[in-house]
Point group: C2
DNA sequence: GGTTGACCTTGACCTTAGGTCAGGGTGAAC
DNA sequence: GTTCACCCTGACCTAAGGTCAAGGTCAACC
């Protein structure tokens, strides 16, 4: 008898739930339609049209709070606003595409993100016979370096690449990795530290401190984080690294304490 | 002295706010790091790594509630989950692209959405000299028909197209539109209704009632909504339409009352 | 003519992914 | 020695709805 659709029909029509339609009413986005004898809302063509318009904008991500003004604006302002919505939507889409693409890098073994050059170095580590644990640790260090101190990330990578060309250095590094099973007070650690420091100085692959930070302690914090990554799990390696750093410092290399 | 980044540095590092990091702690997504002497959180490399992983997934739209399980899953389950995330992200992107494309149809004069065939008919109406108001009304009716009763939308459109090929019909329709300024009791309305009904029957462009609905009253509600669109604003046109319908009904056409 | 089941009404509270505010403690620098 | 940027907790706010409760209505079926 009473004409107009009920709220359920109207909602199904525009593809939303009843609650959503009522939500739009409460926000004043769509004026409440007339009620029939039993208090039901009855939607007429004009209401549905408005509902479709609101939904189209809302579906495109326009905040509901803006939609009212937008639809009631004069045509050229509306048109300009539409262009703006379109632009923002395009940005959002591009952002999502970029995120989708980085997503698959999470799946390359370690769930972290590294460019190809770093991956090549890591593959080479594996080929040279380093243990998967060691490779994983280096991978994490590279991820951190890239994110925390991009200024010296290249330096870090180059250092790794050059070191791998020197069989003696590779040997020393492997021995250093073996040191994790030694007692932290084992005298061999001091010997090894000395040999490693000499090698580093000879090959000129000393770590460069990051520059350009607001203060030195910030840089030091980042440097320490990268260079002492995973040491909390390996006390002997921590001691080895500390000794190597002490040796380098004694030779005049700028390395922050702790 | 104490090593590790503060929460602000860690947050800046992964590109989020401090509050977001604390939020992840509360959800158990990233375990709370150790505190320093003054109770500040100190983030070490492993914490940052975890933070980057969480952010990468969260940024791709994975609900925070799922991320924990996901990152702690074994590799092949993780990999499968990543594929799933990728798939959902692709769907979302396609959906947004579709919405972006429909968005510009909102800007084609009337802020409603119609396919090309309908637009062509409306343009033709304008070319034939119908007033912009009349065209707007027909446009709205088409939008409603398409959304409410797609089964007869084609029929509706074909009817319009055929009618426009008949100059006499065009003349009668224009006269019908002029009738909105007449008194609703004007005797000319009855005449016109009779002529229009004859023409409709002769051209066989009678409206088809929608079929296949759960009940007849639902169909009737939709039909009424489309066919009596805008009549609340034009009482004379309402009367004219009612008379045309009565004439058609008398000739055996199935049209619901009200 | 009674009951069933699908619909409608309002109102109050829940959700996600954080943001904001209040009130107070820390740390480094000028 | 104070200033200013940073940190702490806890309580409440946001958008865009969803869920639940308690009750009224409508059409259909028996």
């Amino acid at each position: 008898m009473a004409d107009g659709l009920t709220i359920g029909q109207a909602a199904a029509f525009v593809g939303v739930t009843i609650k959503t339609v009522r939500h739009y009413h409460r926000l004043g986005l769509v004026t409440e339609p007339e009620r029939d004898g039993s208090g039901y809302r009855r939607y007429r063509s004009a209401d549905l049209l408005r509902l479709v318009q609101v939904r189209t904008l809302a579906g495109a991500g326009v905040p509901l709070a803006e939609i009212g003004d937008l639809l009631d604006a004069d045509p050229e302002r509306f048109s300009a606003a539409l262009d703006d919505v379109h632009r923002r939507l395009t940005e959002r889409i591009e952002d999502l595409v970029a995120r989708r693409d980085t997503l698959h890098r999470l799946d390359r073994g370690d769930r972290a993100l590294l460019p190809d050059r770093a991956c090549a170095v890591l593959d080479r580590l594996t080929d040279l016979g380093f243990s998967p644990d060691y490779v994983a640790g280096q991978r994490e260090a590279l991820v951190l370096a890239r994110a925390l101190i991009p200024e010296i990330y290249d330096n870090f990578l180059t250092q790794l690449e050059r070191s791998l060309d020197d069989p003696e250095f590779v040997e020393l590094t492997k021995r250093g990795w073996d040191a994790r099973s030694w007692d932290p007070d084992d005298p061999r650690i001091e010997e090894l530290a000395s040999a490693l420091a000499d090698k580093l100085l000879a090959n000129r692959v000393v770590p460069a401190m990051p520059t350009g930070f607001r203060n030195r302690s910030d840089a030091a914090a980042r440097y320490g984080l990268v260079n002492h990554h995973r040491e909390d799990r390996e006390p002997s390696i921590a001691r080895l690294n500390a000794l190597v750093e002490a040796n380098l410092r004694a030779a005049g290399v700028d390395i922050p304490h702790q």
